[in-house]
Each structure stands twice: as C-alpha cells, then as structure tokens.
C-alpha cells in the first residue's frame, strides 16, 4: 500500500518539501483565475443579482467543510484500525482547517441570506447541521488541546471523530424532520435544474482553488505537527539527561 511508504515521518517530510512549492503555485494560479472569472466573467444571476458572487466562495467552503471531515474520519480509521503513524497527525492538522472553512461557509451563508431571505440566520436543516458540524470541529480541537500526550489525545479524538461521522447524517435527518414540523423550508438553492456555464465554471475553478488551498495548508500543518512532536520528545530527553551530550534517541516522535 502506497500510504505505508510514507509511514516514516522523515520520508514524509521530504515528500512535503518537494510537493509543497508546486501546490502553493497551483493554488495561487487557481485563485487568480477563479477570482478573475468570478468578478469579471460571471453575469449577475437573474434572481440573485450580484450576490451570486458570494456563492463562489460559499459553496466551495461548504464543500471543503464536509470534505475535511471525511479526511478526518479516514484519518481516524487510520489511527484506530490501520495504526498508521501519521494518521492522527493528519487528523489533528485538519481540524482547525475544517473549523475555519465551516466558519467561512456559515458567515458567507448568512451574508448571502440577509439580502436574499431578509435574515442572517434561519434554523433551516442544512444551516443547522453545518452549525453542529462547526461545534464538532471546535470540540475536537478542544479535546486535542486539553490532553497533553498527543498519542492518547489522538486516539480519543479518533473515537469521537468516527462517532461523529456516524452521527452527522442522523443529526441531518432529525433536524430535517424537526424543522418541517414547524416551518417549511423556503430556501432558494443554487442547485436548480440548470446552472448557467458562466456561473458554473468560476464556481468549479474556485472549488479547485479552495481544495488546493486545503491540501497546501494541511500538508504544512502536518509538517508543523511532526516538528511539534519532535520538540516534545527532545524536550523530555533534555529534561531527563542531566548532562546533555550526544546521546542518541531511539523513540520515533510521531508514532
């Protein structure tokens, strides 16, 4: 399995050093094209007017908010089932990114909702489940921050991530059901029968740009996390050795 080639953190770091500059360049290019297209090419929507431009960041951010949770859920499986040494590093690095993208999609969503619906927020099923997702991300981050030992914290967070992965669809359905009892959804959605290509293309380019941004930041954050664990294990060694002199470490920091 190819993933196992990068089980060694040092080899993984070497890969990151090679890949990261290309990712950054591709990401910048995609954003340049995407932003140009979304401001200069896309026409106003006949229904939404210029606010359709909010969609060009809102929709990709919402996609990423969900994709990021998938990455974390797969990483959680990696921690608990396959015991891949980098899995909990990946999960921990993804959580703040997921929270940030969820936050972007919530904020841009309400900024779009105010002119379109007349209110910043409704307790609509889709919005509410994104809010619950946001709380899940923050809870996971808090769990990581509270536990000092990264290995233990990684396992605890993996369990919570997987429970959340099973639970989020249930939350979505129950909120759907709860909501229809009280108030029919009156959401104008972008995914109508036809999306004009002039809108679809910038949307797809922006989605690509956001995805590249996610992977760039994710790899960089994973590298930081590996370094953080190295620092931690080296500090423990530093504290243990009264006269630090060229002793050799045996423990890998990120296993």
């Amino acid at each position: 399995m190819a993933l196992w080639d990068y089980a060694n953190p040092t080899r993984f770091l070497r890969l990151v050093d090679i890949v990261l500059p290309w990712l950054i360049a591709a990401c910048a290019l995609a954003f340049a094209i995407g932003l140009y297209k979304s401001f200069f090419m896309a026409p106003e929507d006949y229904q939404q007017g210029d606010t359709v431009r909010i969609m060009f960041i809102h929709v990709p951010a919402a996609w990423l908010a969900m994709m990021c949770y998938s990455v974390m859920a797969i990483s959680a499986l990696g921690t608990l089932v396959w015991k891949h040494p980098l899995a909990d590093v990946s999960a921990k690095a993804a959580a703040p990114l997921g929270a940030a993208f969820t936050f972007i999609s919530l904020i841009t969503g309400s900024l779009w909702g105010k002119p379109m619906w007349g209110t910043y927020w409704v307790w609509d099923a889709r919005l509410t489940s994104v809010l619950v997702l946001f709380i899940m991300y923050l809870g996971l981050m808090a769990l990581w921050r509270t536990m000092e030992d990264p290995i233990k914290a990684g396992k605890a967070a993996a369990v919570l991530t997987l429970v959340g992965a099973f639970n989020l669809p249930i939350i979505k359905f129950s909120v759907d059901w709860w909501n229809t009892l009280h108030q029919p959804a009156s959401v104008i959605r972008l995914d109508g029968p036809t999306i004009h290509p002039d809108i679809l293309i910038p949307l797809l380019v922006m989605a690509l740009a956001f995805t590249l941004l996610f992977f760039t930041l994710h790899l960089a954050a994973m590298r930081n996390e590996i370094f953080r664990r190295r620092v931690r294990s080296m500090r423990m060694k530093a504290a243990a050795s009264a006269h630090p002199a060229g002793a050799t470490a045996t423990a890998q920091p990120a296993e």
């Binding site: 040092t10 770091l13 050093d17 401001f39 200069f40 026409p43 106003e44 007017g49 210029d50 606010t51 431009r53 909010i54 960041i57 809102h58 951010a61 703040p96 990114l97 940030a100 936050f103 972007i104 904020i107 841009t108 900024l111 779009w112 105010k114 002119p115 941004l213 930041l217 960089a220 954050a221 590298r223 930081n224 370094f227 953080r228 190295r230 620092v231 294990s233 080296m234 500090r235 060694k237 530093a238 050795s241 630090p244 002199a245 060229g246 002793a247 050799t248 470490a249 045996t250 890998q252 920091p253």
Partner: protein, 60 residues
C-alpha cells in the same frame, strides 16, 4: 459589464470576501508562525546538544 459595480448588495459581497480573506490569512499566519516556533525550539534544543536518531532536517 463593470466589475466594480456590485449592485445594491455590494456591502454584503465585500464583507463576504473580506471575512474569507481574513480567515484564510489567519490560517496561513497560523501555519507560518507555528512553523517558526517549532523550528526555533528545535534549533534551541540542538544547540543544547540534544539530538534525534541521527537524522537532520534540512533548513529550507
């Protein structure tokens, strides 16, 4: 069409892009600052003579 005429809801559009830009900038800053901190800590420890299992990170 004029890209700088964002219609009656310009404020909301500008706010959306500003918030997004701010959050992304914060993420990038977080990654860079974190990296600098961990690097500094690693260098500090190496100067004290604490070494890891023979591997050295390149200083890119």
């Amino acid at each position: 069409m004029d890209p700088f005429d964002l219609g009656p809801h310009a404020g909301f559009i500008i706010a959306s892009y500003t918030v997004t830009f701010g959050v992304v900038a914060a993420l990038i800053a977080w990654v860079l600052i974190d990296r600098a901190q961990q690097r500094a800590a690693l260098n500090d420890l190496e100067r004290q003579g604490i070494s890891r299992a023979g591997q050295r990170q390149d200083k890119s």
